[in-house]
């Protein structure tokens, strides 16, 4: 009787053990189908420098010393993805980038959306503060790539109070400041509205390496950093048309400065993602 009970126990344990092993093998084989843990985390956007230097004062690639007195942008939505970004020349250094994009043919696989900012927020990029952009629901995991959308005010639901959008003068971004080179001082101001052509209003495939977690489990939040020095990296301020009566020069769409800012504001080198307070 004792033997019989032990045997039944052993049969059960043995069968369970092998079954567990089989399930484990199956589970390992299917890890790609395992959903991530559901999380909620805080998000924000702030102005920053790609070099870690001053956000508002920098020298650009055209040797202009730039001092920004104002820089505001309407950002959102933004999406945080699990897949690696598209390839570029930095992949020779990092060795992990993957290219799939092909105009007219198809888009690459962005992977799982791990988190998102769903509304449009006005960000004061020179304030030194992080503007809260709400709580994101998503999945725990490493965000390797994200994208930000740069639509004109009102094109997507607003997250910021309506009055804040008036600071943008109807544009997606607005900047003002002075640029100095070889003794020439140029005061400038102007707005940027990214053309609604193809996917131009989406800055895609921005590299990241941020572990997204539930805010209850890990202090901090996911912060999109906007590198103002990269926005204006190739702007030749002398190309701005001279103004009358000493007013600030305006970013004319027919100037090199405008084309360079448009290229810069759409550059994936102009944005970063971090997790911090």
């Amino acid at each position: 009787m004792q033997y019989s009970i032990q045997r039944r126990f052993l049969v059960g344990i043995g069968g369970f053990g092998i079954a567990l092993a089989a399930l484990t093998i199956g589970a390992v084989a299917c890890t790609e189908e395992t959903a991530g843990e559901s999380i909620e985390f805080d998000t924000g956007v702030t102005g920053a420098s790609s070099t870690g230097g001053s956000v508002t004062r920098f020298v650009n690639a055209r040797d202009w010393s730039v001092e920004l007195t104002s820089a505001k942008v309407a950002i959102g939505p933004a999406y945080f993805y699990s897949s690696a970004p598209q390839a570029t020349w930095v992949d020779k250094l990092l060795g992990v980038r993957v290219a799939h994009a092909c105009p007219a043919h198809a888009q690459y696989d962005r992977g799982t959306v791990l988190g998102e900012i769903l509304q449009q927020y006005v960000i004061d990029l020179t304030s030194g503060e992080v503007t809260s952009t709400g709580i994101s629901a998503g999945e725990a995991g490493v965000c390797q790539m994200f994208e930000v959308h740069l639509h004109p005010p009102g094109d997507v639901p607003a997250g910021s109070p309506g009055a804040e959008f008036s600071d943008l003068h109807g544009s997606t971004a607005w900047i003002a400041g002075t640029a100095t080179k070889d003794g020439e001082v140029i005061e400038f101001e102007g707005g940027m509205t990214v053309p609604d052509e193809g996917t131009m209003r989406i800055v895609e495939s921005i590299p990241a390496d941020v572990n997204l977690a539930d805010s209850a489990d890990r202090s901090g939040r996911a912060i999109v950093e906007v590198y103002l020095d990269q926005w204006l990296a190739n702007v030749d301020f002398a190309s701005l048309p001279e103004s009358s009566n000493g007013a600030a020069r305006v970013f004319d769409p027919d100037s090199q400065a405008y084309s360079a800012w448009l290229t810069g504001i759409r550059s994936r080198y102009a944005y970063g993602l971090s997790w911090r307070n």
Binding site: Y3, S4, R7, L10, V11, G14, G15, I18, A19, A22, L23, I25, G26, A27, A29, C30, E33, A61, Q86, A87, T88, W89, D91, K92, G95, V96, R97, V98, A99, H100, A101, C102, P103, A104, H105, A106, Y108, E197, G198, T199, M200, V203, E204, S205, I206, Q230, A233, N234, D236, S239, D254, Q256, S259, A260, T263, G264, R266, S267, R268, Y269
Partner: protein
């Protein structure tokens, strides 16, 4: 004795129970992963891989394919007389385990514009398992180790000296003016996880006792698009022609001089569209701020121009 018999029945019961449980659970587990499995039924087959550059090499621009006319929006007509690529590193892998089941190292140098511009055979891989396989291949920098199939020797020598993996040559005409171009690109790349453009599946199915044909498509059209992003692409040549100089020949070095933030015409004035607006090349935000020039743009365009079996996309990483 009784105990022994009981133990024997118990051992058999234990084994039957464990075996059945394992079998059922394994079936459940693997049924859930069936899409990841190879579907081979045994036997062997072969694959002949060809390479071509598409209708642009056969007909020049403008050309019509299906119901679509591929024409330059700035009015240029264009013929490509040389389109030389260096290919190698063809690897076929078992998708379930990643093991290599077929290889062709090459590399070979092919001028895809020779003759009538039709595709050229690259390699035949034999004794492959008759199952679905993943394809990888490399676009390589020209070296003396490469076998020259159809390129002119002097062009290959130039490519070796310059470290190029692409050499493109041709002529463009507009309003009685002709501009030649001859430029090289260094875009060594490894292509992997290729999607089959014919049926949109990953890789290619090898059939038992048959030789299957497949095709690497070095899609020449890409080099003249004005965007690296998706949508609203246009074919343009004004930005190339503007840097041709007095010899009316566009070179790699001259392409490097064309600033994408300040595209200029041959007189140094802003390059404008027919409506008077500035021409803007859309780099999709991909190019580093210190590489915003037409050569860098072409490097990226060339790299993403290589497809599998039509316009099937591959992942690619720089070598």
């Amino acid at each position: 004795m009784t105990t022994g018999n009981t133990m024997g029945r118990g051992r058999r019961t234990w084994l039957r129970s464990a075996a059945m449980t394992t079998a059922i659970l394994a079936l459940i587990s693997f049924a859930g992963c069936s899409s990841e499995e190879a579907t081979g039924g045994g036997g062997e087959g072969s694959l002949t891989l060809s390479v071509g550059g598409g209708a642009a090499l056969q007909q020049g621009f403008p050309y019509t394919e299906g119901n679509v006319e591929y024409a330059f929006v700035d009015g240029w007509s264009l013929e490509i007389t040389k389109y030389i690529v260096v290919l190698g590193g063809v690897t076929l892998r078992d998708p379930s385990g990643g093991g290599v089941v077929g290889e062709w190292a090459g590399p070979a140098v092919l001028d895809l514009a020779t003759g009538d511009g039709n595709s050229q055979e690259l390699a035949t891989l034999e004794s492959l398992p008759a199952t679905r396989l993943n394809l990888e291949f490399d676009l390589l920098r020209a070296t003396g180790a490469a076998t020259n199939r159809t390129a002119a020797e002097q062009d290959l020598d130039t490519m070796i000296q310059q470290g190029w993996s692409f050499l493109v040559e041709g002529n463009a005409s507009k309003a009685g003016k002709t501009v030649a171009f001859r430029f090289g690109l260094d875009v060594q790349s490894h292509y992997h996880d290729c999607i089959n453009g014919k049926d949109k599946t990953k890789g290619i199915a090898i059939e038992r006792d048959k030789t299957i044909g497949a095709f690497i498509y070095a899609h020449a059209l890409h080099l003249f698009w004005d965007t690296l992003a998706a949508g609203d692409e246009s074919l343009r040549f004004d930005a190339f022609a503007a840097v041709a100089g007095d010899d009316d020949l566009v070179t790699t070095e001259e392409l490097r001089q064309q600033d994408l933030t300040d595209l200029h015409d041959e007189n140094g004035d802003p390059l404008r569209d027919s409506d008077g607006s500035r021409v803007l090349y859309n780099d999709g935000g991909m190019l580093p701020p210190d590489q915003l020039n037409l050569e860098a743009f072409l490097n990226y365009a060339a790299r993403s121009s290589v497809h599998f079996n039509g316009v099937g996309l591959c992942g690619s990483s720089a070598l």
